[in-house]
């Protein structure tokens, strides 16, 4: 039996004005378990708290009910008071007689009556309270960043600069991501490589950072502070630690006609290749689908020319297991396929290209060395049409496009149009737009410059059909402002393809039990207040894997994610919320219902031996809740068909007791 003390607060006249506090204290005196009941002007004041501490000692109280303001206001205060008095902090319950009673009711009799009932409910609950202790778990002071684009790079650098070790896992042979493929960046038009490659070098040289390039995460287990991750290092057939990146092998490789992914297939690379000059790590990789030696056992030229002896045709995929305290997802985006948009004749003409292809065409390190030449005949295009929103804001067909706005296209299209007019003033540039969306610092000014200073023609309307004929692309579109259909014979058409999350994101989310939205973007723990945390504790989000983002936004989010990781890794131990679910193993039948509804993946199953009354041993599958992962929503308790699952702090019997007390 509990020994409960009831403390009714006046809150000056806030409560006492509408509730007869003396009468409340008196009425609760006779409730089961109550051994002491009093009232005071300000329970939260030092004097009020001292009063509670003294009463606990004097009356040997085991539980406390404070009838006061909202628990959202002072629950923590009174829990600390209880701890000071030597009680378990979770033996305190608050009856909210201010916000939910005195402030909303005007009649003293009615208010007092309700306050008494709320007090009774709190007493009934405390009678069933049990001391709770938050679980503690150690923290592995290392972080894993998945994805080596600008988001991953920035997050890794920020964490490493704070003194923690970071590993980056990148699936491509080099870090750098999409930004490495860009030419200039809006709105300042810095060259992407000039601002990105120094950061890549910083990563390579940072003593706290390790890069697993050409690698993928293949398994994740554990929980916040204690993840165990298996990384698959794909065979690149070149010993990474020996290769000097001299490029002699690339020069001599006889297989020359492999489409170059880095230039989006607009030129060719060799079977052994270094994606681009500033690659990190600057190590060659052999493409096993193209290499004669690996396909047919004939050739071996690269091995012969490599003075360092780095070529290893026998290399196999290798699995490495590492421990981390925090994981940052930075898997980024890719442009959607234009396959379903053939009204724009992407498959029919080489001169219909995507914006990312245009970046490569204008990049000094690209297939045309930065000269704007159209892919079909390498002639300078005189008329260029840009089409925005290709696949963005497309709700009619999920296979075709994406319902969301891809966010970055308005700005990069303005950039492309402006740069074209700047470099080639004789070029006629037209942009078809639905809306021009430029909310960002100096963004609208940038777009206006494109039209006002550079003479880019913006047409409010959409292209409906592109017909390649001869060496021209006949573009048919609408001009809604002029209310006419326009026909332009263009030399080059650039499609602003929608962006979507990288394909690797979905399987990764499953491994991490991190939730995703219907578009496969990772969901944040709270859209406004916790934008860089995933709902899964210890998993953080950086960059476009969470939603379309430009570079400035990505970098700020990357820094924010790093700050959250640093905050986590700075702790030696993690204190959990003790109000978590737990399963009674004697009642659990291992049906998996609870795990199916758990948003956090906190529930696992294990086989356990039970000693039966007839002394036989029975092995049964039972649910186990990981208290470090459980957030205490209680969804599983309702799903559980056998009633084995319960939520500490809000047990079935506690809630039922409250219902009883209110309804009596």
């Amino acid at each position: 039996m509990q020994r409960i003390g009831v403390f009714v607060c006046w809150c000056g006249s806030n409560i006492a004005g509408t509730v007869d506090v003396k009468q409340v204290a008196k009425a609760l005196e006779n409730e089961p378990g109550v051994v002491y009941s009093t009232d005071y002007q300000y329970m939260c004041s030092q004097a009020g708290q001292d009063m509670i501490v003294n009463a606990v000692k004097e009356h040997r109280l085991t539980g406390i009910v404070v009838c006061s303001c909202s628990p959202r206001m002072h629950e923590q205060t009174f829990r600390k008071t209880a701890a000071k008095a030597g009680l378990n902090p979770y033996m305190v319950e608050i009856a909210n007689i201010r916000e939910q009673c005195s402030w909303v009711h005007k009649d003293m009799i009615v208010g007092t009556e309700k306050a008494i009932i709320l007090g009774k409910a709190a007493v009934a609950k405390v009678n069933l309270n049990a001391p709770l202790t938050p679980g503690e778990s150690p923290v592995t002071k290392r972080a894993l960043v998945i994805g080596g684009g600008i988001a991953g790079i920035q997050t890794a650098l920020d964490i490493a600069d704070a003194g923690f070790e970071v590993d980056i896992v990148e699936k491509k042979p080099t870090i750098g991501g999409k930004m490495a493929q860009l030419d200039k960046t809006f709105p300042t038009l810095d060259c992407a490589a000039c601002i990105l490659t120094p950061k890549m070098v910083d990563v390579a040289q940072h003593e706290k950072i390790r890069v697993f390039s050409f690698s993928e995460v293949s398994e994740v287990s554990g929980f916040v502070g204690n993840f165990e991750v298996t990384i698959k290092k794909k065979a690149r057939y070149v010993k990474e630690d020996i290769c000097t990146g001299c490029g002699a092998c690339v020069d001599k490789c006889p297989v020359k006609k492999v489409p170059n992914e880095f230039n989006l297939g607009m030129d060719n690379r060799k079977a052994i290749y270094i994606p681009f000059a500033q690659a990190v790590p600057k190590v060659a990789t052999i493409d096993p689908n193209a290499c004669n030696m690996l396909k047919a056992g004939k050739c071996g030229v690269c091995s012969k020319v490599c003075t360092a002896g780095a070529i290893d045709y026998t290399q196999k995929d290798e699995l490495v297991t590492e421990k981390y305290g925090a994981i940052v997802v930075a898997t980024g985006f890719e442009p959607i396929s234009m396959e379903k948009f053939d009204e724009y004749a992407y498959s029919q003409s080489k001169d219909v290209i995507t914006s990312l292809e245009f970046e490569r065409l204008t990049n000094a390190a690209g297939p045309t060395q930065g000269k704007l030449l159209r892919p079909s005949d390498l002639k300078h295009p005189e008329k260029i049409v840009f089409v925005q929103c290709v696949g963005s804001r497309c709700a009619s067909c999920a296979e075709k496009g994406k319902e969301y706005c891809s966010k970055i296209c308005c700005m990069y299209t303005a950039k492309h149009a402006m740069l074209t007019r700047d470099k080639y003033p004789d070029t006629d540039v037209t942009v078809f737009y639905i809306d021009v969306r430029t909310p960002g610092k100096n963004f609208d000014e940038f777009y206006r410059r494109a039209t006002e200073d550079y003479g880019v023609k913006y047409i409010k309307g959409m292209v409906g059909k592109i017909v390649p004929e001869g060496d021209k692309l006949h573009v048919q579109g609408s001009d809604l402002i002029a209310n006419e259909q326009v026909h332009i014979d263009a030399d080059l058409v650039v499609l602003a393809a929608a962006i979507e999350p990288d394909k690797s994101a979905r399987p990764l989310a499953t491994m991490l039990t991190a939730s995703m939205d219907t578009n496969d973007f990772f969901t944040e723990a709270h859209p406004k207040l916790r934008p860089v945390e995933s709902p899964t504790a210890g998993v953080f989000l950086s960059g476009a894997c969470q939603g379309p983002k430009d570079i400035p936004e990505t970098v700020s989010q990357a820094g924010a994610a790093a700050a959250k990781v640093i905050g986590l890794l700075a702790k030696d131990k993690l204190l959990g919320n003790p109000c978590v679910a737990s399963s009674d193993e004697n009642m659990c039948n291992g049906c998996s219902s609870c795990a199916n509804v758990c948003p956090y993946g906190a529930i696992t199953y294990e086989d356990k031996e039970f000693r039966m009354p007839d002394r036989t041993i029975q092995v049964r599958r039972i649910a186990k809740v990981n208290p470090a992962v459980c957030q205490g929503c209680g969804c599983c308790t309702v799903t559980c068909p056998s009633g084995a699952m319960d939520l500490r702090g809000f047990t079935n019997s506690q809630i039922m007791a409250e219902v009883d007390a209110i309804c009596k």
Binding site: E339, K340, F341, D342, E343, A345, S347, Q348, C397, K465, I466, V467, P468, E469, G470
Partner: protein, 263 residues
């Protein structure tokens, strides 16, 4: 394999070529086209309005007839195909429409879109298979550069017709390749020929048809094939000199039965 065949009005009359070659070639490929009994005109155009019932009943009747025989329904004419397929889709997906139709027909067993419908091209692709078709070709059309004109009716609405990618169809190109000729892809292959508008505004129809054929010619086509009698009519009235034939004629030629069909 035996299928129920819905020829439609035009194939019995002005487009006998389309019909004759289709039947003969199907036999060679192991499929018997058995003409539905007492079929009625499809209506020519599918009225998209959900409250139009009467104009769609003839399609439901032939669909029902095929269901009763337990056979798939095959059409050759693009217009028939469009109307029958759209009607079937509405019977499957528009509950209130299907209820009204079934109440009107007052048959014992209601029809709810169970029949499988093939366009002749789908039959070639999905049932016969282009590889098998290629084996049966005795007279490969080597060196011919042929443009496939789809028009609108075969492809749109894409979700309902489901015959091919509405913006980048390939079925006729594959057919052309299987027959030994070289397909010529041209962007206007799914642009409208002008349709029924020729009756009121022949100039508009002519303009559209000319745009189709000149695009085909510019991309190197010597000839254009179609599955639609109205398309063929409009295209032939255009200002272009590119010959337009039914795809079945080409098929018959490659299978070596063109002459015998005409006897």
């Amino acid at each position: 394999m035996k299928v129920t065949y819905f020829p439609g009005c035009t194939l019995k009359n002005k487009a006998k070529d389309l019909d004759r070659y289709a039947r003969e070639c199907a036999e060679i490929l192991g499929i018997t086209l058995e003409e539905a009994e007492n079929w009625q005109c499809c209506g020519g155009v599918f009225t998209t309005a959900g409250d139009e019932i009467a104009t769609k009943l003839s399609s439901v009747r032939v669909l029902k007839a095929a269901k009763e025989k337990g056979e798939a329904l095959v059409t050759v004419c693009s217009a028939c195909h469009n109307v029958v397929k759209q009607t079937n889709y509405a019977m499957q997906n528009d509950r209130s429409f299907a209820d009204k139709v079934n109440r009107y027909m007052a048959d014992e067993e209601p029809y709810n879109g169970e029949t499988q419908i093939y366009h002749y091209l789908e039959l070639l692709r999905d049932v016969v298979g282009f590889d098998k078709l290629r084996e049966k070709v005795v007279n490969p059309l080597k060196g011919k550069k042929i443009g496939a004109y789809y028009g609108c009716l075969l492809l749109r609405p894409g979700k309902v017709m489901g015959l091919d990618d509405p913006e980048n169809p390939t079925v006729m190109e594959e057919l052309i390749r299987a027959l030994g000729a070289e397909p010529v892809v041209f962007a206007n292959r799914n642009e409208c020929c002008g349709g029924y508008v020729f009756a009121e505004n022949p100039e508009l129809a002519k303009k559209k048809s000319t745009a189709v054929l000149s695009n085909a010619k510019a991309n190197g086509a010597d000839m254009v094939i179609t599955a639609c009698p109205l398309c063929k009519y409009n295209l032939q009235k255009s200002a272009s000199d590119v010959p337009v034939v039914y795809f079945t004629e080409l098929l018959a030629e490659a299978l070596g039965v063109k002459e015998s069909c005409n006897e």
